[in-house]
Symmetry: C2
Subunit: 645 residues, 2 copies
């Protein structure tokens, strides 16, 4: 120890030789220096308790100072970067091609994050100024996770180089390359605004806080905006399948306010049931919760609700929970989670029985009334009324009005898909000649041409010798050449001989047009639209960003020539929370990483940890990650809050 | 070390001597035992880095296991206690006198927490099933603190021995000792329910999430409830002073939904201002926020808003903030925070100038329109229009309909105070003969009899010798005897000679009736109603709880005889947050602790720490404390969220 400080002193002496510092002065510093170095190395301090404590406190102090210092410098640097980027992007406005992105959901956000803002001016237009972590909505609707945890302001998410305008796009003009936003005639109700745009209730006390304020903070003049490239990622809305009463009496679970409203309604039902003079029948009705739709949303909501009842409401309302609470899940098909592996559906159904969730399979909801749901079993004519209070409708999606408007403008002869905008495999909307409109996520469907529609052409092209039949080589060439255009040909690529042998039943070594048609029809059956999931949308968003970043000439519509690859979906598996600290995971069809490990469908507690860690890594920012972790710990320790506001 | 384990082994050997365990077997255990004991003592492990790390990890593991174990046992114990208390209180229903408490605010909660549930059956009735930490509402309205942080479910707060019924009391029958709840005719809108009971907006897209659901989870039949003692703690509502337009266009800041709505409106204003084609004048109007009322609520809201603008919105909207944002505070008196020390008002006004908050003193608001506020300066006839967007009205309070209903039933000849229920000094409502109704908090005013009204009686009683005048001794006896009944006499108690000399201008040694009247009038001027603060309400709540716990005979109305003391308010000081990490504290009039230290009004950063620590200690449960601490840290690190929903 001392040798080190002596060495240091010698160096100092040498360095300061030309100055007027005497060795004597340095000798005075020596003990101070020694002591200080001893602190850091922690060696010369005696190993007494006091000494150790002192040393540790010093270390703690140093760590704290360094940590806090680093944090503030980092924050300062980020602020500086933010402002410089903001002014940089301001300077270049008008000099770059403009990309307008409609939407702030799962498709739009990855797109906005990955677009090269050096190359493009990027503007995002959406009526919702935040990104919503939709898969956590069931958790929000019972209070496991708080509302602000699952949202992130779009401005902080995509940074200052992307301009954001909170507006509703109502029309698109593909000729003039212009969008029109905000309808002057009617003040559109954006999500979250229902509280304010609605007239006052009839029996309002004056001076009470629960009245409605006529909105003065909201003026949205109509405006037009030019674009060079438009990306439509507006998502979908809930499909009621024209079931009467759903609009008026059922809750959806698609936006944040839905979750808030459901949480309030659940609490309301319990408080109503606790009111004196309530009849038993009415109490049972009030505490009967019905979920329509056995997809991931419906299943997860039923599971979260069962958790809420068992873990928290039982504590506060033990008698109600033990005698009157009932949760029913209604599914039209013969399995819940039918898009997942059969094993998973079975597990979920067994698990739900244990959790006291009634599952009605093969059951259709014919009508939703204010205090009942009318169901009908498959193959039966009888309609049964189920008295209930909160009904959550989670069955399916349909196109938004803007999507339909764009389809209309392009023409329904080209845009034949009622579910959304048909695109080519580069996600460009079909029927837009200059290819300047892209569509992705729930509002888009990639057109997948059928092989049989073009069989004549394909056959003639493959039949190079014009003999009216193909041999194995020609068939192989056909498959290899066309697999990018017709991805359904992939099913042959693994065992081309087997496929050929199947077609060539007479073992002649040749297949005729008729035989070819038979096996190509089989391939066509494999065509399936991509599911309307967050996973698909986010991959599409990222794909379009990289595509546009790579495009050398945005005027040219021939992407093949520019060496650009079409979109290819990589399924990473599906997962759902089923309550009681259990989740299910399905890796079927995922490739290539998970297939390597040959992962089986997972269920139970270990799957729940995977489920949690997945959402934890998926959350976009440090803020939401911190909040989510805190929420989970808070729910575990303190339970869910049952206050109703 | 080894000696200890050897000792242990010897003991084991002795113990097991009668069994068939040989010493050889024990010898095999010895090294294991030694190692394990060494772990715990940490002595024999070598002080290498690996050894220390290992030891520390072990220690950490032990601490974790013990900690987690303790937590779960504690939670288990609390659950067990909860259920046993619940069933205990169920068994004794009907055998104990019933106390019905109306309200879940600052008065009701301390009362409910301190009432002896062994002695009484306690039922709480309120339309709001949670306690709201009202002083933090300004923080909630800008997002510094989240909504769920400032509320705590009443059920978890007061435990299972207090029954809670979510209902609105609409009538009281003091003769039959019955309350009536829930008006069957009209479904009363409880706080937070406006989202659901209101008709749909005109231009709703079908399938959109922002529609309104007709409520099926809410049926509240009318019911009557008997009581032995009724405590009215229903609070107050906002007073508009009949200013036109306030009801329709101004926000209040009294309930949680108000705060949520204001937060949404602020964000809306900024998004509206960012819309293209917005004129400069409209932008300036949209970003002009007006706060009416310079009391603590108004001041704190203006301060929090300035914080939000400077710390977060400036980051996202730098141009708007630097050129267009304006905050105006309007106060009718010539000072803000006029109930506090003059120094504090001055400091706040100076501080607000630094924070760019315009303060208009001596200004009256004559009307609030949708997009403007009409003001008038004191002494002027001219009306000035201020274009603005969000208007927050925080001027004063008035009685709730139920309070007025009770006053009406008792009769306005006894209940002369329009602000609330007049009570005696034991907080029993005047005019209720059996003393079975108590009132406290904002809805109650303690009647303070004037000395001059009873001067004849007082004089005759004091003039024991019937000579038509009082000497110093008689005067002193009068003051001492009557000071409990007339607290305003306290001003004489310190210097009774001086007061006497003042009255006895002729130095005759006697005071006449006229002279006495003069000085008693002076004392009467000191009568002041207690302020409508959380502090008063919570002391009153605690007082009534202790009073009722001590009462030996609830039939008897003579509390003096039972040796019960009337309510005495102890002012602990006042405090307010004024933004920019500064707060003001005023200890004037507080006694006796703070007076001892002779504390001066505090302001600035140190006061802000006191402000924070005060709220931190004041939060009722571990849950809310944890959430509050987390919210403050979160806001500091990540800033406030500007998403609007």
């Amino acid at each position: 120890m001392f040798s080190r400080s002596t060495l240091l002193l010698q160096q100092l002496t040498r360095k300061n030789a030309h100055r007027n510092i005497s060795f004597k002065q340095l000798n005075e510093i020596k003990p101070i220096l020694t002591r200080n170095l001893a602190w850091f190395s922690g060696q010369s301090a005696k190993q007494t308790f006091g000494g150790r404590l002192k040393r540790r406190l010093k270390n703690l102090l140093i760590v704290t100072v360094v940590g806090v210092g680093t944090f503030y410098s980092y924050r300062g640097y980020r602020r500086y970067k933010w402002y410089s980027e903001m002014s940089d992007s301001d300077k270049t406005i008008g000099t770059k091609p403009r990309i307008v992105v409609l939407g702030t959901g799962w498709g739009a956000v990855p797109l906005l994050k990955h677009l090269d803002t050096q190359k493009y001016e990027v503007i995002c237009v959406s009526p919702r100024n935040y990104f919503l972590m939709t898969p956590l909505l069931p958790s929000v609707s019972v209070g496991t996770v708080e509302t602000r945890t699952v949202i992130e302001s779009i401005r902080s998410l995509v940074g200052p180089r992307v301009k954001f305008v909170e507006a509703t796009c109502i029309n698109v003009d593909p000729k003039a390359k212009t969008i029109t936003c905000n309808n002057n005639g009617e003040q559109n109700v954006s999500r979250g605004d229902d509280v304010k745009t609605i007239v006052a209730p009839p029996s309002r006390e004056s001076g009470a806080s629960s009245r409605i304020i006529k909105d003065s903070a909201r003026t949205r003049p109509q405006f037009d905006m030019k674009y060079d490239i438009l990306v439509v990622a507006v998502g979908s809305e809930n499909n009621t399948f024209n079931t009467p009463g759903v609009e008026e009496h059922a809750h959806f679970l698609k936006e944040l306010l839905d979750a808030r409203r459901i949480r309030s309604a659940i609490s309301d039902a319990f408080e109503s049931a606790m009111t004196p003079t309530q009849t038993i029948a009415e109490r049972k009705r009030l505490l009967h919760f019905v979920v329509v739709g056995g997809g991931p949303t419906g299943v997860e909501f039923a599971a979260e609700l069962a958790d809420l009842v068992r873990e928290d409401l039982q504590h506060y309302f033990p008698r109600l929970v033990s005698s009157d609470v009932k949760i029913t899940l209604i599914e039209a098909l013969d399995h819940v989670l039918s898009m997942m592996d059969k094993k998973i559906s079975d597990y979920t159904e067994r698990h739900f029985r244990r959790e006291n969730i009634d599952v009605l399979m093969n059951t259709f909801v014919k009508e939703v009334k204010q205090r009942e749901v009318i169901i009908q079993l498959k193959g039966s004519e009888e309609r049964i009324s189920i008295p209930c209070s909160v009904v959550v409708w989670a069955t399916g999606i349909k196109a938004r009005p803007l999507t339909n408007r764009i389809r209309e403008i392009i023409g329904s002869t080209i845009q034949t898909n009622r579910m959304g905008l048909l695109t080519d495999r580069y996600l460009r909307v079909k029927g837009v000649e200059d290819g300047s409109i892209f569509a992705l996520g729930d509002c888009a469907t990639i057109a997948q041409p059928k092989l049989v529609d073009q069989i004549q052409l394909l056959f003639e092209e493959a039949d190079t010798q014009h003999r009216g039949s193909l041999d194995l080589n020609q068939f192989q060439t056909l498959v290899e050449k066309k697999v990018t255009e017709f991805p359904q040909l992939e099913i042959f690529s693994k065992s081309i001989e087997k496929a050929f042998a199947e077609a060539d039943k007479e073992k002649s070594g040749y297949v005729t047009l008729t035989a070819l048609r038979a096996i190509l029809e089989k391939a066509d059956q494999k065509i399936r639209a991509l599911p309307a999931t967050a996973q698909v949308a986010s991959q599409e968003g990222r794909y379009v960003a990289h595509l546009l970043n790579q495009v050398t000439d945005i005027q040219s519509t021939d992407f093949k020539q520019q060496n650009l690859k079409p979109f290819q979906y990589k399924h990473m598996g599906a997962l759902a929370y089923v309550g009681g600290d259990s989740a299910v995971l399905d890796f079927t069809g995922s490739k290539p990483v998970f297939d390597l490990f040959n992962l089986q469908p997972l269920s139970g507690r270990s799957a729940a940890y995977l489920w949690k860690s997945f959402y934890f890594t998926e959350m976009f920012t440090g803020r939401t990650k911190t909040l989510l972790a805190f929420d989970w710990v808070r729910t575990h320790i303190f339970g869910r809050d049952i206050s109703r506001y």
